[in-house]
């Protein structure tokens, strides 16, 4: 770990082009008005203030469908661990970096995940301003990055950029691109503190979040929230799988055999714990039979300290994607508003 100061944002452009020499560079860009992760080769203006894309980067490391066993029908088993291209994500926000730290801890040495993850270099960019619907600050995941990055950039108002490196690979990337850094002086450190304070102040006051989290985490587990509260939320879950698909920390998968003649594959595919079939047993017995039971379980996993991940951080990183995609208006803020007495 360490940090230095880049003279200008042009140095970041040099870094991006440098990364592109031996990596695919993926950056957020506005396409038809929608922020998306796009392959850019490090070219063009970097989108410093673009809101995080609705669809995050989880699928690059943990694809929606991944064969974990394949055979051709002749008795031969085919390799399934990928040989991924070297890539660099430039512009990851603190929420997504915190989520990747969760994924790293969860998948550990899983060869499919690890191979893809090892091929990726992560460059974060701190948020100086709250995004619409984001509440990373309430769950200690942002708006300044804390984890998982190889490099992290904080743009300063005077045009300079503070670059922190979290790995040797990140530090080498700066050098390889011919980007020089100066030491972070006391004035810059003070400035960073002011920026963090301003960024924190830009979040709307959502006192219900702390109230909801407190109720959810009151001991003994589950005691503070009556069953009826969860059952009232249950019918709002239409079981669309949107929240679990977009959630950057959701990792549940099921296994599907895809038979094609004599050959075939066994693939792991994203699952969703909000589906009734997720936990239905062969007998028909269901440990979480009512939609409200499944809603409770999901949010308990996301918001309870019992399931905290690296750095003691909650499974929810406050990105707000579930609130956008939930047709039933029970994304994280929707649920916390209900638990916190705001709706």
């Amino acid at each position: 770990m360490g940090a230095g100061v880049l003279a200008s944002r042009a140095a970041v452009d040099r870094l991006r082009r440098g990364l592109a020499r031996d990596r695919r560079v993926i950056e957020p860009r506005s396409v038809d008005g929608a922020p998306l992760w796009v392959e850019t080769a490090g070219e063009g203006a970097f989108a410093w203030t673009l809101a995080p894309p609705l669809v995050g980067v989880k699928g690059w490391f943990f694809p929606p469908r991944e064969p974990v066993l394949a055979w051709d029908g002749t008795g031969a088993v085919l390799p399934t661990v990928p040989s991924p291209d070297r890539i660099a994500f430039v512009g990851l926000r603190a929420c997504d970096l915190a989520a990747i730290a969760h994924l790293d801890a969860h998948f550990g040495a899983d060869p499919w995940y690890r191979t893809r993850r090892d091929a990726a270099l992560l460059v974060g960019v701190d948020c100086l301003q709250a995004c619409a619907g984001g509440f990373c600050i309430e769950v200690d995941a942002g708006p300044f990055a804390r984890a998982a990055f190889d490099l992290n950039l904080t743009p300063l108002p005077d045009g300079r950029v503070v670059a922190a490196w979290g790995s040797a690979v990140g530090r080498a990337a700066l050098a390889d691109a011919g980007v020089t850094t100066k030491a972070v002086d006391e004035g810059t450190t003070l400035l960073l503190g002011e920026l963090a304070t301003t960024a924190a102040a830009s979040f709307p006051v959502r006192s219900y979040v702390a109230r909801g989290l407190a109720r959810l985490n009151a001991a003994p587990a589950g005691a503070a929230i009556a069953d009826e509260e969860w059952q009232a939320l249950g019918p709002r879950c239409l079981a669309c799988t949107g929240c679990t698909s977009l959630c950057p920390t959701c990792t549940c998968f099921t296994v599907v055999d895809e038979l094609d003649g004599a050959g075939g594959a066994r693939a792991r595919v994203w699952d969703s714990c909000l589906l009734e079939g997720f936990q239905r047993e062969a007998s028909g017995h269901h440990p979480a039979p009512r939609p409200g039971d499944r809603v409770r379980r999901f949010w308990y996993h996301k918001l309870s300290r019992d399931f905290a991940g690296p750095g003691g951080r909650l499974g929810c990183v406050g990105c707000g994607r579930c609130d956008v995609t939930c047709p039933g208006t029970i994304g994280a803020l929707g649920v916390l508003a209900a638990l916190g007495g705001e709706r």
Binding site: P63, P64, L238, T241, T254, G261, G284, C326, P327
Partner: protein
């Protein structure tokens, strides 16, 4: 990253397809789509797996020695052309017919109707709108002059009351359903009229749980209450409607008490529903197949139109009479003229001027008499008058009523030609099966329930030798000596737009923008028309038409003491050929497929999961039971996605006399443990 339009229901959500190594690796919601706004239902999220299914048809199949066997395109097309020519030679042009698809693009539907009319020389062309919203088209054209949804989906956010009739919106049109739930939570009153206790019904301020098929009695009782209390919009009626006195007279006897006796709901509930809807400034009325799939379907649509007109809710922001169409492109397939009596844009084949315009454009004489509906084609096949049939992307053997009749008549044809993604139950009966491209493998447009025309974009190549429907029809037409002359999807759209006033101002260039355009869009600078009837109804004055309650064609009796109704599940779609190949959706299927009330179940010693037989006068089906208070005593309900337990083996094919819609929503059955 290819932005496109969802292929399931008619809400018209925006999808983004992510393709790698010739495979759709992720389907995600379009964050800037004006309708879906970053949301999708479970079907949309799971639109990927069926595309890559090993069961996709990759080459033509030809029946030889009783078995479907792979064949070259040239062989299959030659056989199809020969069979169609032979059928025409033997029985005349009307001995052949085409069933178009509400699942394929507008370009495919336009090609199908041109193929039927200009190549085969018959108006025998229809599609599955016959079994969903044909009564909406027939009813609303009579009362308002246009058979489509009057107001945009977004208008429900502008309403002061939401009135939902016979529609399970959270399950079947999930993104609209979620928006209704959200509006209701903001305090907008919600009234739900449904025999079943749906999710929306449980959330509603008022659930009017009426008996099956008694909607007209309910509406007439509401109209009686509205006139009695002076809740009608007198100024609106005077300025914009006709036949007011006749309507008022017709409901004079329909006191809430009289309506209560027929509907089974209390008079107080009927008056409360009338007050909530009529005294709100703007009421957004939406309805589904619970209204249309009855022998009284068209008249029920007219009754709802009466209700909206009397309360001044047509042509206003936040109001409207809004049929929620079923398939992604059922609105478009109707618009394209894949119907026996109209060309594209609802131009009647009986209208000489319209016919001449199409004859001039296509350089061929066109048939003058309206053709047969899909069900009439089945009966003609039964009688030996229809000898060959082309079915595109539809599975009538599962989705049409009348027991084994459909399969029997399809087998009786001299030649059945099916273009499909998969070997469906209907395709299994075919003589020639032609592999079709899916929505992700071709360019085109879909028209959503709110008349929104949106681009469908090719993200990957079709599997094997599969082709777009319009390409299949073009090749077949060439074999018959009269090519359709299509080069690409954009060219078909341009030809269609030139012949169709409501689409005349649209082009692929204009449809590039997210959300496309709503018809009517008559000129290249016209912004489209999200809301109809604003400056007066399309037909002039809104016409009030008295209608009377007609009971279902079959009522329960000692032999068949229960009423069966049909419905749809959120996690399945149509006959399931796409959704049943998505592992998460298929796993979500319930343990049983007939829902029954605990009182009916207990009497028959049936518990959830028990094997049961459902019998009607037309057939029987065995499945498992789900004991639930979703249905009232005396009513059982079955979803129709599952060929292994299809309610259409028992449903009634009694027809609405106007729209020829079969009464899929109610028949008499017996249920017993087995």
């Amino acid at each position: 990253m290819t932005p496109t339009t969802c292929p399931f229901c008619a809400v018209g959500c925006g999808l983004v397809l992510d393709v790698a190594a010739k495979r759709v690796v992720a389907v995600t919601p379009d964050p800037v789509h004006p309708v879906s706004r970053g949301q999708l239902c479970a079907k949309g999220w799971n639109a990927g797996p069926f595309l890559a299914s090993p069961e996709r048809l990759r080459q033509p199949l030809l029946r030889r020695n009783g078995r479907l066997q792979p064949a070259a395109w040239s062989t299959a097309l030659a056989a199809a052309a020969e069979a169609l020519a032979a059928a025409r030679a033997e029985g005349g042009a009307d001995a052949v017919g085409v069933i178009a698809s509400a699942r394929a693009t507008n370009e495919d539907a336009f090609a199908a109707m041109k193929f039927a009319r200009a190549v085969l020389g018959t108006n025998n062309v229809d599609h599955c709108a016959r079994v969903c919203h044909a009564p909406s088209v027939a009813g609303l054209r009579r009362t308002l002059g246009s058979g489509a949804m009057t107001n945009p989906i977004a208008d429900l956010d502008e309403a002061d009351c939401l009135f939902v009739v016979g529609a399970d919106v959270t399950e079947n049109h999930t993104i609209i359903g979620g928006r209704i739930l959200a509006a209701h939570e903001r305090g907008i009153p919600l009234v739900v009229v449904d025999p079943r206790r749906t999710r929306l019904a449980r959330a509603a301020d008022l659930h009017v749980q009426l008996r099956l098929g008694t909607d007209i009695a309910l509406v007439n009782g509401m109209l009686h209450a509205i006139f009695a209390h002076g809740w009608e919009d007198g100024a609106y009626l005077a300025a914009r409607c006709e036949n007011v006195a006749a309507l008022q007279a017709s409901v004079a006897d329909w006191t809430p008490d009289a309506a209560a006796r027929v509907t089974g709901v209390t008079a107080a509930t009927i008056v409360a529903a009338a007050r909530l809807y009529a005294t709100s400034r703007r009421g957004w009325l939406a309805y589904g197949l619970g209204v249309t799939q009855h022998v009284s379907g068209t008249e029920t649509v007219i009754a709802l139109s009466n209700l909206a007109l009397v309360t001044g809710n047509v042509g206003v922001i936040g109001g409207g009479v809004n049929p929620l169409r079923g398939q992604n492109n059922v609105q478009g397939a109707c618009d394209m003229g894949a119907l026996p009596d109209v060309y594209s844009g609802y131009q009647a084949v009986a209208d000489e001027n319209a016919r001449r315009r199409f004859e001039t454009a296509w350089g061929v004489a066109l048939p003058t008499a309206p053709g047969r509906t899909s069900l009439a084609m089945q009966h003609a096949a039964h009688d030996g008058e229809l000898k060959a049939l082309v079915v595109i992307g539809q599975d009538p053997a599962v989705t049409d009523p009348g027991g084994r009749f459909v399969a029997r008549v399809l087998e009786r044809l001299d030649c059945l030609i099916v273009a499909e993604l998969f070997l469906t139950e209907t395709a299994k009966l075919a003589d020639i099966v032609l592999p079709a491209a899916s929505f992700a493998e071709k360019d085109g447009t879909f028209t959503s329930t709110e008349r929104r025309v949106q681009r469908v974009r090719r993200a990957l190549a079709p599997p094997g030798e599969a082709r777009a429907d319009w390409q299949i029809l073009d090749a077949l037409a060439a074999r018959l000596g009269r090519p359709l002359g299509f080069r690409d999807a954009a060219g078909i759209f341009a030809e269609m737009a030139a012949l169709t006033p409501s689409y005349a101002g649209m082009s692929y260039a204009r449809l590039e923008a997210r959300g496309g355009l709503c018809w009517p869009c008559p000129t290249p600078t016209h912004p489209g028309t999200p809301r109809l009837h604003v400056e007066g109804c399309v037909r002039g004055r809104g016409r009030l038409i008295p209608v009377v309650h007609t009971p279902p064609a079959e009522l329960p009796d000692a032999d068949y003491p229960l009423q069966l109704t049909t419905f749809r599940l959120h996690h399945q779609y149509g006959s399931g050929s796409m959704t049943r190949r998505a592992p998460l959706l298929e796993r979500e299927n319930p343990r049983g497929l007939v829902w029954m009330h605990a009182s009916d179940a207990a009497r028959r010693r049936i518990a959830t999961g028990a094997a049961v037989r459902v019998r009607s006068r037309r057939g029987e089906v065995t499945t498992r039971a789900v004991v639930s208070d979703d249905v009232p005593p005396g009513v059982v309900a079955m979803p129709y996605h599952f060929a292994e337990a299809s309610p259409n083996l028992v449903t009634n094919d009694a027809l609405d006399p106007i729209a020829r819609m079969p009464e899929l929503k109610v028949c008499a059955v017996a249920v017993e443990a087995c």
